[in-house]
Symmetry: C2
Subunit: 183 residues, 2 copies
DNA sequence: AGCAGCATGTAAGTGGTTACATGATTGT
DNA sequence: ACAATCATGTAACCACTTACATGCTGCT
């Protein structure tokens, strides 16, 4: 009962779309799940080895040149469905930015403004990226609606952050003005 | 150069509002930073010991009954400002829910609906909590605007999640209907 | 007498990142 | 020839959680 299940899920999920090398699994994950999931090689290769030992994936030759291509097995597909159905661990809610902002009165002058501007710019940039993805021609396969849902999540999140950052910047400006007025 | 800096920051931040025991530090963190930060005892006590060794906090007696009360020192206050000014580590963007939804086509029937409903209900509950906090009488100290900012962040986030969940549930319903019509 | 809450701490384990080591192939 | 990219893996480390162990105090 290895508890590496989240990485296992991501790797099996990637492999469910086609056979590939470990290196390509990484690329597939950063490419398609990138805005809400990442994996490092130090995690992928050991996981792949474990999956192979459990018969959930198998290696297809792969000559000297390319690495060995990994393929999901039927047992692997069953396991993927199991993992998907399992309750998901809630992400640890830890926001280092908010931690700093909460104690904002002790922040060096201008730093709060800087932090908020970074959030605003980051969110706007993310939104641009998302709209570029939306513009991409879609081969309409059955998974499409779910993929769109995750994209939509990113958009909602980015818009919320952008709006919050703008509101907070305005509040900050009011604060500064009041301070100046009082002397 | 210990790298426990995030926990250190949270603990020093809590202690900057007044002297307290380790147990109370935990309570203060879950109470006031709870919706974007948490610490466990296994983290707090060793951190406190390290801070004491560095002269950033000091212990005030604390008889047999209550535990020893910990107080931030001047050096501790300086360190707090340093930590606050440091660039914040970006949280690992890993969303186990989206990971499952992305591969939604392999999810057991009804499970996607279940997941989205949970998100919607959780967000609504969070919003209620936040509005209760807003209603609390505020002693208007200088930190107030920053505290409000972090609360506002939670609200924006919760609204975004709620709206996304509702939209996605509607999209899911459309999908089911289309399936029935064709099937 | 017994339980709930206050209080402090340690040990083991988890899930992950980073850095390192290595080497083949392809393109310039 | 050299650099970039593909490819695989390990070792060390890190932050953190959970579970455990312990004991006191105050209330019922």
């Amino acid at each position: 009962m290895a508890r590496r299940s989240q990485t296992e899920l991501a790797v099996l999920g990637a492999l469910s779309t086609g056979a590939m090398t470990g290196y390509e699994v990484r690329a597939a994950i950063t490419g398609t799940l990138g805005h809400f999931w990442q994996e490092s090689f130090g995690q992928i290769y050991p996981t792949l080895a474990g999956l192979e030992a459990d018969g959930l994936v198998r290696r297809r030759g792969g000559g000297r040149t390319s690495g060995s291509v990994v393929e999901i097995t039927d047992a692997g597909r069953v396991r993927l469905r199991e993992l998907l159905a399992e309750p998901h661990p809630s992400a640890p809610r830890r926001n280092a930015l908010l931690l700093r902002l909460f104690f904002g009165e002790h922040l060096p002058p201008g730093r709060a403004h800087e932090l908020l501007t970074e959030v605003e710019e980051g969110s706007v940039a993310a939104l641009e990226q998302y709209s570029a993805i939306r513009a991409e021609p879609s081969d309409d396969d059955p998974g499409q609606p779910f993929r769109t849902m995750t994209l939509s999540f990113g958009e909602h999140l980015a818009r919320a952050q952008r709006d919050w950052a703008r509101e907070s910047l305005a509040a900050l400006a009011d604060l500064e003005e009041g301070r100046r007025a009082r002397g």
